[in-house]
Structure formats: C-alpha cells, structure tokens
C-alpha cells in the first residue's frame, strides 16, 4: 500500500510540475509510404488540428466529413491546417487512400499502423482531436465527436488566430 502511495505521490508532483505539452516525436507514414517525424509537422506559424481517426470508426468519419464542408472557409479565414492521422492497422490501412479519395477530403493524411503516434499522445480511443498553436504547443484537445463539436473547435482556432 505504501508502495502504491509513494508512486502515486511522485506521479502527482511530477504531473503538477510538467511543462505545457508540445507535439511528441513519432514516425508516421504518408500515403505514399514515406516516413515522417511528427515533430516536423508545421504550418508556417499558423495553427494545426491533429485528428486521430480510422476507417472503421463511424463518428470519426462523421467529424471529418462535417469539417470537410467548412474546411475551405476555415483555411481562408485562419490558415489552419488539418492533419488526419489514421490508426488503421495492417487489416484496414490499404483502405485509407481510396476512402479518403472517395470522400474528396483535402486533408493531409498520415498512417500510424503501429500506433506509435497514438501512444505518444496518449490517445485512448478515436476520434480524438488536438489543436496545436503556431509554436507547436497543444492548447486544446477533445475526445469523442458529436455534431456541432466542429464549431467548438473552430471557435478555439479563431481564439488562437485572434480573429474572434
């Protein structure tokens, strides 16, 4: 019991002292099979939305489809970029590229078949969305998707870009 308490105490203090988080390093693949370090994600000092999804996840697809309708406006107004990280594994990863084309999405899509990036960001389940500011700090995150959540996310983007 004392053991558990000591560890718990250490953990709590460590968390309390932890610095604000940045995007961790992990290797993901482009749809063309190139390896990319997630630390190299950039958008010229403008915010980035990192969205974890999968072809087998219905709410994920609803969220990305809902954003797709507004994405052009979002980009024009705030310069925000959405990076979609597919956690599809060996079973379904081959479906990602044709699916994305079939949806006519304009997102930057990467594959994380071994879950390295998912684990690095401590994602429990999909969909899970992170908003990263121009200097690479994670300023907002949201798990789950309900219709309308994309508006909340966009409000956060507007706050970041000072265009509220």
């Amino acid at each position: 019991m004392i053991r558990i308490l000591t560890v718990a105490l250490l953990i709590t203090t460590a968390i309390a002292a932890a610095a604000q988080s940045t995007v961790p390093s992990a290797t993901v693949q482009t749809l063309e099979g190139k390896k990319v370090d997630t630390r190299s994600f950039s958008n010229d000092g403008k915010p980035i939305i990192i969205n974890f999804w999968a072809t087998w996840c219905a709410p994920c697809k609803k969220e990305l489809s809902a954003i797709a309708e507004k994405y052009e406006d979002w980009r024009a107004k705030t310069g925000v970029k959405l990076i979609a990280i597919s956690i599809d594994d060996a079973r379904t990863m081959a479906r990602v590229k044709p699916y994305v084309s079939g949806q006519d999405w304009e997102y930057e899509v990467y594959l994380d078949p071994n879950g390295d990036f998912k684990r690095a960001l401590n994602v429990n389940n999909v969909p899970h969305t992170f908003l990263v500011d121009g200097s690479g700090r994670i300023v907002y995150q949201h798990n789950n998707y309900e219709p309308g959540d994309e508006n909340e996310l966009y409000r956060k983007v507007l706050e970041l870009t000072g265009k509220k």
């Binding site: 099979g33 479906r95 044709p98 699916y99 994305v100 401590n122 389940n125 309308g148």
Partner: protein, 562 residues
Amino acid sequence: MQRMTSALRAPAAAAMLMLCGMARAQEGGQLHGNFSTDAQYYNEDEDIGAIVPRQRLAYNAWMNLIYTSGNFEAGGRFESYEPALAGYPAGQPYAGSGIGYRYAKYKLSDLEVTAGNFFEQFGQGLVFRAYEERYLGVDNAMDGVRVRYKPFRGVYLKGIAGRQRFNFDNGQVKGVGLVRGADAELNLAELLDSAWTAAGNLVVGGSFVSKYQEDRDPLLELPENVGTWALRLHYTSAKWDLYTEYAYKINDPNGKNGFIYRPGQGLLVNATYSTKGFGASVGAHSFDNMFYQSDRASPTPFDLNINFLPPLTKQHTYNLPATLYPYATQPNGEVSAQGEVFYKWKKGTPLGGKYGTKLAINGSVAYALDTTRLGLADDTTARQGYTSRFFTPGERRYFQDVNIELRKKVSSSWELALTWLNLAYDIDIIQGKPGESVVYADILILEGLHNFTERTSLRFELQHLSTRQDQGNWATALAELTFSPHWFIAAMDQFNYVGSAALEDKGKEPLHYPIGSVGYIRGGNRFQVNYGRQRAGIFCVGGVCRQVPAANGLTLSITSTF
C-alpha cells in the same frame, strides 16, 4: 526470488521517476499519460443467460505514463483487474494489480534504442507484429530490446529480441519462447531524393524472425528454433498503390496444426486506385499453416502470437453486422479476396443534389484452402499432415459479405444513410460451434441525423437482420441525442425474434435487450454510464474472435488523456 523482484520493483520505479524529475528540472521535460477504466456491476438475468460472477463488481483499469526529455523517453502502464470484467481478456486470465508495461528509450540522430516493453511490426505483420488491442484483451508486447537504425537516407533497419507478454498476474507474465528478428527496408523515393518523388515511390523490405523454445517432448523431435522470413514490395504513385508480401515459415509442429512437420506460407496482394471523388481497391491473400506462436503449446489462439494475418473482410461499424457475424482469418488455411469502391457524386450533379451523395460498395469472400489429408503415422509422409494447392480455394466457403452503403445529406439539417448487407457465415469454423449450419443473413440499416440547432442533434439507427439460422431475426432501434460539446443521452433496444419454424421448435423465445446510456465529455476526459441488457457479442482481431457474454447491469467507463 519472485517475491524479491516484485519488492524491488516499486523502489526502482520510484527511482526512475525521481531521475526523470531531476532531468526535467534541467531540460524542461514533459510528463503525460492517460487513464481508462471500465467497471461493471452485474445483475442476475436468467432470460438472457446473463453471467453473474461471484464478485458482483468487476473492473479493468489502466494508467499510462510517458516521460520525455529531449531525446530520452520512459514510460509505464499500471493495470488493475480486481477482478477483470466477465469474458475479459481473450486469452489467459488477467488478475491483480501491477505494472504491465514499462520501457526506456532514447534517440541519437539516426539511432533509436528501446529497452523493456515495446510494440513493433515488420511489413503487414505476416512474420512479426507485437501490438495491443486493449478493449479486446489482446496484448503480445515484447519485453527485451529493440534497435532502429537509419544508416543512410531511405534505409531503415530494425532488430528486436526478447520474450512476449503472455498474461497478467500482479504484473506482466512472459511466455517461455524467445523471439528474435530483424527487418530492413529500402525507400527508393527517399534514397534517390527528389528525382523519384514526382513519379512515385517504391519501398522494398525483407524480414527474418526466429523463435526458440526447448524441446521437452518425450516422443517427437521438435525443432527448437523456428525461422520465418518475409519479403514485401510497395509501389505508390499519385493514383496507384500496389502492395504485396510473401512469408515462409519452416516446419513448426504445434498444438494448433496437430504437430505436423509441414512448412507454412502466406501471400497477400493488394491494389488500390484513387482519384478525386473516386477510390477502388482489390485484394487477395492465401495462408497455409501460418499459426506462429512463441509457445508451441500455447493454450489459446489469442496468446503469444508472433505474427498477424490480417483479414480482408470489411470491419463493420453498425452494431448487428459488427458483433453478430464478424469474420476472423483462419491461419491454418484460407484463400480470400475482396473488392471495394468509393464514389462521391459532386454537389450540383443530378445524383449529387445540393450537398453531394456518397456511395460505398464492398464485397469479400473467404474459402478453405484446397488440401488433401495424409495419414499422420505414415513414415513416407513424415507427419506432413496434408498436401495443398497454394492460393487454390477448396470446397468449403467460410465467409461471404456483399454490402452497399449510400449516404446523403438531404437538407441543411438532415443526413440519411442506407446500408444493405448480405452475409454467408460458417459459424462452425469461425466461432467454433461444431455442427451448426451456415448462417445466411440479410441486413438492412437506415441511419438518420437531424440537427435541431448548431449544438443539438438527434441520430437514430434502425437495423434489421433476417436469418433462418442461429438465433433468428434481430431488430435494433437506437436513438442518440447529443448536446455538443459535452453531453449525450442514448437508448437502444435489440429485439431477437424467431422467423422460422426450425428455430421455433428449439423453443427460442423472443427477447428484448434494452439499454440506456448517458455520457459527459470535457476536453480529453470522457465519462459514460450504461444500464440495461447487453447481448452476447463477438469482437475479432486478426485471426481470432473474443466472445463477450450476455450481461445485465450497470457499466461505468472513464477515459482521460493528460
């Protein structure tokens, strides 16, 4: 000795965290993690054959912690099952509380070294994949050492060695077999730099994996080292994507193949074509004697798998097709094929209407491999078990699925989706229910989404499955009211009723499975409470399916990311 190591574990963890703390002070490191729990209180409910464990309250809980500082990273996972949920995990039981996963890792320019637990895969995993599917209870994490090295632009080397997680008893319990492997990958677009990038990319890879397990069999002379190798090719261009991987395993007599001395092999091919608004894929594979576990006497097909044989069938998301009749790869022998098309009619076209219309068509089929049995005791066959014609389907069809989905936003506040599926399902083979006849089912699903306001929506699903086999017909209705971004409330009823005389004779009574849920989400935290009946269901990963028993009760789920 065991006692001492566990006594040492806590101080070691504490020391590690303190070291982390000091390192943080110097370099400004980060500590992050997540937490997840599913707890259930079980009620008695004889009508549905609900399982009631002796301890009425059960839970699974996990907490992951990752500390990073510059090029250094360390992490661990605390797990607790006091006791585990009924039917969890898929393989050998988990019990108690403790550390189930811990590692340290550093990166120095092109070299990355991990000590402790890790997940990894070579290619599509035909010879090696260590992974976790937490909600299914599959975790074959390695415990040992991994080195990843990039000696030159576009060249990737990996080496792994260690033992696999077998189950959990106040800490990870490892399997008896040793697993060692190496993988090399050449990425031509990166190697040749920009010259190739415009036209396409070719990635070539190869791997070798070996397992070691002592031979203590009194009768058979078993190979103590079993090697497998695989080669893969992946070509991509803007529109095309071609992937193929071949794997070969030397003779590996084990409990799953009846201790035969026959080598195994597997081949998968896949091609996709994608252009704006259109995507298509075709794929096929064949596996022959490809069970590969680090313990030849592994008690279940869920434990200690070294490789992963991905099924080609679509992973459905609607409740009835997803959990009643999902397919699982048959590692001992299978030939399978699939095809899929995605299309979007653009806005403003006759079929696209004002908002566009999306179509998805998918079909897949899996057959037994064409084999001829040989006598086992026969000296001339040397315990080969059978002969086979690779990539040739046998007579027995395991599975067939044809499905079409149409999705359309019909007005600014309404979206509708219509799905039809037709299944043929060899329940005897896939779920291991000998003597049960093949299930033929038609499923029709209507999903609707209505937005009342920018924040409030109603989603509903009406599903119907008709079959004359197994449990008969199912009708499901679901309504989900969401208040973005924090709340949702949902109610679902699944109604099982008999549509054929044959099942009526078995005395099957119509049954309702009502369940209600409320959820609250705030940032990275999610809470959900369910109350009601849960139907027995099946979850599949790769080659195996976990059966979740019927239950009645209260469930609480929490997930949190920090």
